[in-house]
Symmetry: D2
Subunit: 133 residues, 4 copies
């Protein structure tokens, strides 16, 4: 199932593809995404744009939420920025931390390749009945 989610997202998420964000791993309630930083991720200050960091984390949350094979929608998310990033590879690790079936809470850590924490996200996803991927 998790293999299908990974393939499905990689093939169909055009925004992620366009912004060079990849799904690396999907397990039940868990997912990892990566983004090799390039010029198109930078803001006016020359560091990675908050929107790019958010998008990386959001895809990890979405992949983890959909890891059960039932369509999940993102409801809201809070991101706090810890440290700026300029180059290298960023990685987002999403974990489900609740047990409920309809509404799930996720935590996402975004790290650089030296394992520094770049940002943290907390978000909710909603399982839309019986729709399957």
């Amino acid at each position: 199932m998790q293999r299908i989610v990974k393939d499905y997202l990689e093939k169909n998420d055009k925004f992620a593809k366009y912004n060079n964000i990849k799904v690396i791993e999907v397990r039940e309630g868990y997912a990892v995404t990566e983004m090799e930083i390039n010029e198109n991720h930078l803001n006016a200050a020359g560091t990675v744009h908050g929107g790019a960091i958010f998008s990386l984390a959001d895809l990890a949350l979405g992949a983890a939420a959909n890891s059960f094979g039932v369509l999940n929608l993102s409801l809201n998310a809070t991101i706090s920025y810890i440290k700026t990033a300029k180059s290298g590879r960023l990685r987002a690790i999403a974990k489900k931390i609740s047990e409920s079936k309809k509404i799930s809470v996720y935590k996402v850590d975004v790290k650089d390749n030296k394992d520094n924490l770049i940002a943290v996200m907390q978000g909710l996803a909603y399982s839309k009945d019986r729709n399957t991927l």
Copy 2:
């Protein structure tokens, strides 16, 4: 001053440019951004990606925060999604709602071209001393 902020962001924010997000208006503690939806903004469900909506709102917040001509950094942001969008033009309107100088609170509304509310954001920006744009 606001003209400078607009030009500065348009020229230097590569992520915004790459994702077709434009600064339309900047006044003191207020800014508007727009994004004409194209295929590269879509998620696997064929609707505008949460990351694209967040990025549009985030740029409005950033432009409003920098409208005073002093460098401001985004600290955190919470986005809640109200309605999906598929095509047309999205617009984000950011307003400063606090009076403090160092830390400012902003609200952002994201709307489609029929004035439907697509998402709302609440965020904080931090004024980094005397650095000017």
Copy 3:
């Protein structure tokens, strides 16, 4: 219906009662709560505790969410503090800003009696099937 919600909350919400928080008005997707500040609301700095401000706003959100007569649960909430308060009366005004039935988004403004903005909250509530109050 809204009269019932107001009475129901006033009678049964012991935490609100104990902390002197009152439901003033309930309409569809809208509610107002008030708190006359007393010594028990203060933090170590002598200003109204963040927890007291949050609780006031949270009850407004809850009353607005339950204004339709169907049991709603708070899922999450983000509060940003704008200005400290020391005495007088605080008021929270909650408004539903989404149209969905299962999951609703609310905005809450907390103001003092000079109409200064003290805090803003953004939160989600979940309608638990057909349970009625």
Copy 4:
């Protein structure tokens, strides 16, 4: 220093005292608070009020933020509820997860006495210059 913070908060935070919330432990960038649930913590549904859970978590965040002996103010906080609680003892564990001096990011976990996760909070605190406790 941490002993002073604990004593200072216990003595001066009237809202916490009134609501039976105690500071149990304070170390650098870390704090634990506890609340023995009683009738005054309950909402209209007979479970612990979101405002009570938030207040418990908020005090842990505040104690951790003030553990360095410099006055810190809470800027904003996002709480997501995981599981309801009805009786027993709740505990909040706050950890600083950023390195910056002026603005700090904190994560707080709220657990019951069977170690179930009740809620998670993510918040920001601001160090107000050189004011000491």
